[in-house]
Structures are given as structure tokens and as C-alpha cells.
Amino acid sequence: MASLSKGSVAALIAAVVGALCLLLESSLPWLVKFPAAWVLPATGWVGAFMEWFLALIKPTARAFSALMFYPMEAANYVLSHTPWPLVICATTALAWTLGGVRMALMAVVGLGFVLASGYWPESMNTLALVAVSVPLALIIGGGIGILANEYPRIRQPVQAVLDIMQTVPTFAYLTPLLVLFGFGPVVGLIASAIYAAPPMARNVLLGLERVEPEIKEAAIMAGGTRLQQLFQCEIPSAGQQIMVGVNQCLMAALSMVIIAAVIGGFDDIGWEVLLTMRKAQFGQSLLAGLVIVIFAILIDRMSGTLTQDRRDRHDPRVAWGILALGVLVSAAFWGSVQQPGNYGLFNPVADSVDRGLSSFTSANAEFLTALKNNVLFYVLLPMRIGLDQAVLPFTWGFAWTPAMSAALFAAGAAAGVVFALRGQVALGIMLLIAAGMLETGISQLPWPFVLVGAGALAWVAGGRNLAVLTVVLLGTILLSGLWERALLSLYLSGAAVFACAVMGGAIGLASAVSPGVWRVVRPVCDMLQTIPLFVFLIPVLMVFQIGEFSAFLAIIAYAIVPMIRYTRHGLVSTPEEMIEAATASGATTWQMLKDIRAPYAAPSILLGLNQTILYAFAMLVIAALIGTTGLGQSIYLALGQADVGLGISAGAAMAILALIADRMVQGFAEERRKALGL
């Protein structure tokens, strides 16, 4: 072992710092708990600066707000005053044009459900917001994408800004928007435009970059001016990718419009979910949630047809016929179609769901509580505060003793030595570190260890630049006094990501091995990805009430999808030739999986993990609504108190964590890809 690998060196440094911190813990308490006196009042500074800045642009913002009022009112008026048969028929006609009979049926059934649920007026309010914010987002996003394509110099900064716009938690920028625009639906509108513009910009840029060089050259050689080249050749050629952007933009806008309901002031469907959730009317809340899901699915599938390569043409006469039917019905029953909110066909269902739910929870109370408590006491709590504090006679039946700590470390060290002797030094040291972290708990890790450990990891993943970036950014969090909350967020999302990685990996593996499993898993994944974040809260809340465990489950439900998808994709996309070569060499199915498919899938799986981490952070903030501690809670509190400084700082801290995790995993994935020559 004359020369240690980069990974071993990094692990060794982290282990030494960690051990030092543990040893000196009792004599130097500031090693573990960052002294409050060292904290810079950064939150206050950010707040003061932002308030000054916001005051500066407030008049403009308010003027813009007043301006946006008109299209919003108009959209709202049109949608809520159009008789519902006409709305349904128009949507169905559009669905027919886009996707034929299946799509049209989906539209009729979906909107029929909405009508019958009695949430029609609220839904139209939500749609009105989407209808105004989406064009705004499309114009802004498209503009950014085109400009970034035209001026390569600004491409990188634009990408960075887009990254940040998508990693900063959605709630975080609601607070400054609230101060800028005042309470009201305009905040939701603008927040959703801000949130929905980046995917559009990204896809426009990507599409334009991917236009075949020869198509661009052909446009030049035809003698087109730059504008002619762009609008007559490049943009139409990039059409499919741009449509992917439109689809994502629509979905993001819908999701954000619903999240923005927490601000209130607008009688939309998201507000309805929130309200019924607060009143513990879970049946109704589930119903409203279903309405949201229906809109999400309809919007997704209808706009999704635009991204398809070859679309079937559907007879426009049928569409006109459907539309005419809508006009006729509206005219014929003019008097009786005016009150679409009065239908309540599903109210009895909702009530019986409520009743069924309470009888279910009371009947299975023992099991549910046991499940919840077991996970809390034996998994989450030890991860959070460490075995030395989590192991109590009350829960575990015995108390943690120093001897046990010693045994834990000894076991870790022994395993480490075994691995080190087998040549896997880095893995061995990591085991030792893991033992230390288990003992201490993530939320109580000494800060020098976290800084050094993260820096070392970043160094291995992406070289010196990333290491410096990581340490500086984490240092900012430390100095701003949000450290403890950041560690709490790290713990919860870490636990959720870990659970997602294990379960998602297993499900992905099963789906890769058996097409039957994939047939079942795939629609579930599609479904989970279409559902706006917010709706995930309803079912977990129904069964497990408010608390960390519910938040944990909601995060997993949302963040597990990419892990499943990427794992499966990586495993099944091994080139046919490699499979044939392995078969010819006489590999069994299991050997093939272990030796050929898994290594080849590694970069793809890492990307899945990366997405899962980002999803988990995004959901963490939403989950704050139902009880988590940490940064998410701070952001949510800041929103309630219109505390811009806290909101922005906590949002930034959250974005920093997400960003660092993202860069590190990308770094590892890149390394794997390079090693495989991909």
C-alpha cells in the first residue's frame, strides 16, 4: 500500500478529522456545536438588503401586478362564465384533434368527473391562472432559450441561473414575491411563471443546439438572413424538443399554481385541498386532490401528443361537430347549466371514505402505530441523533453504554481492516466513518468533520474546484446560523434518499428482470410523475397524521420514481452485442446482471440517484406543511411572517445542499461514463 488512491486519501482525511472531533468533543464543545457568537447575522443582512431592493422595484412590480390583473380577470371571467357543456366539448374537440378517440374519451370522462365532484368553479379558477401564467412562461423561457442560443457567451451563465431557479425551493421565492406584489393571485401567477420558464428555456436551447449542423448550414447557404434561418428552419426543426418544453412548462405551471394556494386569496382548487386538509376532511380533500390529478393527466397527455414524432391526423369535422354539440347543449339548457358548483355526486363517497378511513385507522391503529414507531425509533431517530442518544430503555429496552460505542467502533474498524487488506482501502475507511456517524447522528455531526468530509468527497468526485466550492458554500451556511436546520434537512432528505435508493433500486431491478413487473410499475411511475407535489400529502396524512413520518413517506413517494426508471433503463439498455458476448462466454443470468449489466448501468443509476436527491429536496419544503423541522420549516414560517431575509437565506441554504449533492453525484456519474468510454 505504498501509494493510496485518491479515494483512500480523502476517506482517511475525513476519518482522522472525525476521530479528532469525537476525541476532543468533551474538552472543546465548539467543535460540535458551532458557537452562536461566531454566527454572522447574515439572515438579517439579506433581509435588510432584500427589503431595500424590493422597496426599490416595488412600484414597477405593483404596476406589473396591476397590468396582469386584466388578463387574469379576463381569463377568469371567460372560463367561469362559459357554460360547462361548452368547456367540456371544446376540450374534447381539442383532445380529438390531438389524440383521437382515446384522448377525447379521456377528456369527457375526466371533465365529467370534475363536474360531478362539484369543484368545477374552483377548477376553472385554477385553469385561469394556468392560462395566463403559461403564455408568460413560454415567452420568457422561449426568449431566454433563443438568446442563449444566439449568444454562446451568455450560455453558461444562463444555464447556471436556470439551475438555481430550479433548485431553489418553490416556497422560498414566494416570500419576496409576496412582499413585492402583495397578497393575491398575482403572486401565484408570477411564481408559477418563474417556476415554469426554466424547463421551456432549457428545452428550447437544447432543441436548437441539437438541430443538425447541416440543416443550419443549408439555411445559411440558401441565403436566409439570421432571422429567417432561426424562425423558418432552426426553430421548426427543433419543434419536437420545444414541444417537450411546452409540456414540462404546462406541468410545472400547474404544480406551482397549486402550491401557491398556500398564500390564499384565490378560490382555487389547491386552496380547497389545503382547507379540507386542515379541517381533516380527508374524503373531500382526496376528491379535490383527484380533480387536480385529472387536470394534470389531461394536460400532460394532451400536450404530450405534440412531442410525438408522427401524429395521426384526425378528422377536423368531428372536432367541429363536438364543438357544435357543446354550443347546442349550452343554448338548449341555458338556465340549468349556470351553477356547475352545485353538483356533489361524490359527496356521499367522500363521506364514506372519511368514515371508512376512521374505521380503518381505528381498526388497524395498533399496526399503523407500530409501523410508524418502529421506523421512527429504530431508523429515523438513530440517524438523526445517533445511537448514543436514541437508544433508551423506553424504546429499545436497554441503555446505550460507552462499552457499546467501543464495540461499534471496534466492529467498524475490524470490517475496515478486512476490506483494507483485500485492497479496498477507501471502502474500509468509509465503513469506519459510517460507524462514527451512526454513533453520533447526522444532526449532531461536528461541523469540522462535515466540512472536511464533504470537501474530501467533492475532491474525489470533481477535483479541486468542486471541493473548494463545496467547502465555501457549506461554510456560508455555517456562518449564517442555519447550520442545525440544514443538518436536519440533510438528515431527513438523506434518510428518504437512502430509502428511495434501496427500494427504488430493487423495484428497478425487478422491472428490468421481469417485463411483467414493469407493466405494473410503469403506469404507477407515470402517475406519480404527473401528480403535482402537493397531492402527495393527502394520502399519507390520511393514514399517519401530521409528523415527520408522514413527511418521510411523502418524500419517498415523490422521489422514488427517477430511481426506479433510471435503474431499469440502465439495466435494460446494455448493448445487445455485450449480452451476446457474455452469453457466448457462458454467463448465467445472474452473472450477466452482476458482471455486465450492472457496471454498464452504473452511470445511468447514478443519474437516477441524482434526480432522486433533487426531487427529495423539492418535496422537503412542501412536506414542511405537514410537519418537518429544518430548513423547509423555516422557509414555510418565513412565508407566514413575510420574513424575506429568513425565507431567502433558508431557500439559498436548501439550494446549496441540493446543488452540492447534484454536482457530486454528477461528478461520479461522469467518471463512470468516462471509465466505460461512453
Partner: protein
């Protein structure tokens, strides 16, 4: 070769016009460089001022991490000439044609089209040139996927603001010319590779260009279609007589089509000459290696194996050989002969003798 004098330094314009005679060449390239990398312009200037030969300058640039993709290329293309640039992938031929069509801004040197230096042309003038004078065909066709065949072909007219009816009528003419009549309403994705390239050819011809660039137009097609399109291309060229710069990596294609061929290697033009020059008088092993694969019987002439002079002994048979016959044709006439035979000019004057065994041997060696 008339370009050889222009290699070392940039000659003044007067000298250029002298070199090419009274008639202005359609295309003139003088010391064209294309360097990729950071600050390529200044790096090239510095390297050229510091070194005597282009080779040394290129070496210098490479040492700094820049890529000299085209080095000091100089040649003329006469009006109506079919000029083929041939080389392997990475030799810089595609880069060179992009410099001439100004899809890339040449880092150094001078490129004149009908006497006008296009390296310094304004963007506006370039658009005008492309609309009126230049046409280009691409290896992977570069068709607009969202336009029908007719719309694709008519596009160069559309950007000029020609009325729809007029431009579609004109497009129709060219579509007939390339044999795609009846396919006007199809989209590119519905066509085969050969048909797509016909669309590409039609589009480049619709605006009546006088200089025609073809960048490996037939390389992406399978051999049968390729040959068919080559023949049709020659027919079109016989009708239109435009000036053509044609890129290929296929020596057989180059020999079949070219009036003259420029062979490129690692960014340098290593030889310029007629097909026969290339086959019979390769300047170095690299060019010789190319012509090795060629069916020389079709390109080499009797004169290359003839013993010249009037005093050789020869046999009784006279199969009627001429100096400029190809080896294949000569061999066909000497199938059954073993004695040396006379070679005569068209008016019957003896210029030398050929041993039939030498004819066969020349082909043997070259094909093996």
C-alpha cells in the same frame, strides 16, 4: 502546376492575375488557413511571422494546443471546371469547402469568388452572394424535416421573397430535372436516402447558382445508388456547366468525376492534378497508396509502359495501339500476342513499342 509558385508568401494581387492569365478564375484560394482554438487569429499571425515554412508554423500552432485544420491551401478553379478535393476523414477537406463557402470564416489567406474576396465580404453581401451565386449540397442532406419536398426545394427562393406560385413552379422544374416528379408533397422522412439527396441537389440548383459546392454528397448512400447518382450528376453538369467544388473520400469517385483533383492530408494540399496525373505521377507514397486501390487499367495510358523511340524491334502483329489508350483497352487488343507490338499516333506514325507482357504486369502489380 500553376499553383506551386504561391505557397511560401502571399503574392500581391497583380501577380495573381498574371498567374491565372487574362481570364479570372471562378475560385481563387491563396494561402488559406483555418485554425481552431482560442485566439486562433492572433496565434496564426504570430506563427506565420515567426516561421518560414507553413509546416513549421503548423507545428508551432499544434504545440500551443490549436488545431490547424487547413494549412496554407492555394489553388484556382476555372469557370465550368469540376474540381474535386479528396482526402480521408480528418484531412481538412470539409473544413476547406466550408471556408470557401464561408460557412467558416477562414483564419488566414484569401478566397476569391469571381475576383471578389469573400473573406472580407460583409454579412449582407454574403447573403446576397448565397442567394444569387452559391449553392451547396450536404453529406447528410440537411433537409428541413418540417417542409415537403417542394417546400424544401423552393426554400432558397422563399428567403428571397419570391411569390409562392412562382417559386413552386421553379421548384417543380428542378424537381423534374433530378427525377423526383410526383414526390413533391412528401416529407423528407418518407424518402429513401438516394431520393433525399436528389432533393438536396434540387434545392441547391433552384436559385441558378454559378458556383456549386458538394460536400461528400454521395458518401452516405449505398454503392448502387451512388453510382446511379454519379452518372446523373455528370449529366446535370453537362447541361449546366457550373463551376463545381466536390468533396469526396473515394478515389474512384474523384477519378470518375473530376477535371482536376486536389489531394489533402492532415490539413495540407499535397497534390493537385488531373486524374491521370494522380494515378501515374503520385508525388509521394501517401498519394500512391490511394491510387493502389484504383483500377488503373481505366486511368493509366499506354504511354506509361511504352518503350519510346522508333528503332525498337517488334513482331509481325499490329493490333493498332495508340499512346493515349487506357491499359485496359490496349490489353484487350493484345490478348493473344506475345511479341512486342508497335504504338502509333493517330496518323500512323511509330512512336514506340509495348511488350504485351508489360501491359499485364503493370496491372498485376498495381492491383495486387
Amino acid at each position: 502546376m500553376r499553383t506551386s509558385g504561391a505557397r511560401l508568401s502571399t503574392p500581391p494581387l497583380t501577380e495573381l492575375t498574371q498567374v491565372s492569365g487574362s481570364e479570372t478564375p471562378a475560385i481563387t484560394c491563396r494561402n488559406v488557413w483555418q485554425v481552431f482554438g482560442n485566439n486562433a487569429d492572433s496565434a496564426l499571425k504570430e506563427a506565420l511571422s515567426r516561421h518560414e515554412t507553413p509546416e513549421a508554423a503548423a507545428q508551432d500552432l499544434r504545440g500551443k494546443g490549436l488545431i490547424p485544420a487547413v494549412q496554407d491551401a492555394s489553388f484556382d478553379v476555372k469557370e465550368g471546371e469540376l474540381f474535386v478535393i479528396m482526402g480521408l476523414s480528418g484531412s481538412g477537406k470539409s473544413t476547406l469547402i466550408r471556408c470557401i463557402s464561408h460557412l467558416l470564416h477562414a483564419t488566414g489567406g484569401e478566397i476569391r469568388i469571381d475576383g471578389e474576396n469573400i473573406v472580407e465580404a460583409s454579412p449582407k453581401r454574403l447573403i446576397e452572394l448565397r442567394r444569387k451565386k452559391l449553392g451547396m449540397v450536404f453529406q447528410h442532406f440537411g433537409l428541413f424535416p418540417h417542409m415537403t419536398v417542394a417546400e424544401n426545394v423552393a426554400y432558397p427562393l422563399r428567403v428571397q421573397g419570391v411569390k409562392k406560385k412562382q417559386r413552386l413552379a421553379k421548384a417543380q422544374e428542378v424537381i423534374e430535372l433530378v427525377g423526383l416528379g410526383g414526390r413533391e408533397k412528401n416529407f423528407p422522412r418518407e424518402l429513401s436516402g438516394g431520393q433525399r439527396q436528389r432533393v438536396g441537389i434540387a434545392r441547391s440548383l433552384v436559385a441558378d447558382c454559378s458556383v456549386w459546392f458538394l460536400d461528400e454528397p454521395f458518401s452516405a448512400l449505398d454503392p448502387l445508388i451512388r453510382r446511379q447518382l454519379q452518372d446523373e450528376f455528370l449529366e446535370i453538369q453537362a447541361k449546366l456547366r457550373t463551376t463545381i467544388v466536390f468533396i469526396t473520400h473515394d478515389i474512384n469517385e474523384a477519378l470518375k468525376l473530376a477535371d482536376r483533383i486536389a489531394i489533402m492530408r492532415d490539413g495540407k494540399v499535397v497534390q493537385i492534378g488531373t486524374p491521370a496525373d494522380i494515378v501515374l505521377r503520385p508525388v509521394d507514397d501517401y498519394v500512391r497508396e490511394f491510387s493502389k486501390d484504383v483500377a488503373k487499367g481505366q486511368h493509366a495510358h499506354v504511354s506509361s509502359v511504352m518503350q519510346p523511340g522508333e528503332h525498337h524491334v517488334y513482331g509481325a502483329d499490329d493490333p493498332g495501339l495508340r499512346q493515349d489508350m487506357t491499359l485496359d483497352a490496349a490489353l484487350a487488343r493484345c490478348m493473344e500476342l506475345y511479341e512486342p507490338v508497335p504504338v502509333r499516333t493517330d496518323d500512323g506514325k511509330l512512336v514506340g513499342v509495348v511488350n504485351p507482357a508489360d501491359l499485364a504486369a503493370a496491372l498485376q502489380v498495381e492491383q495486387g
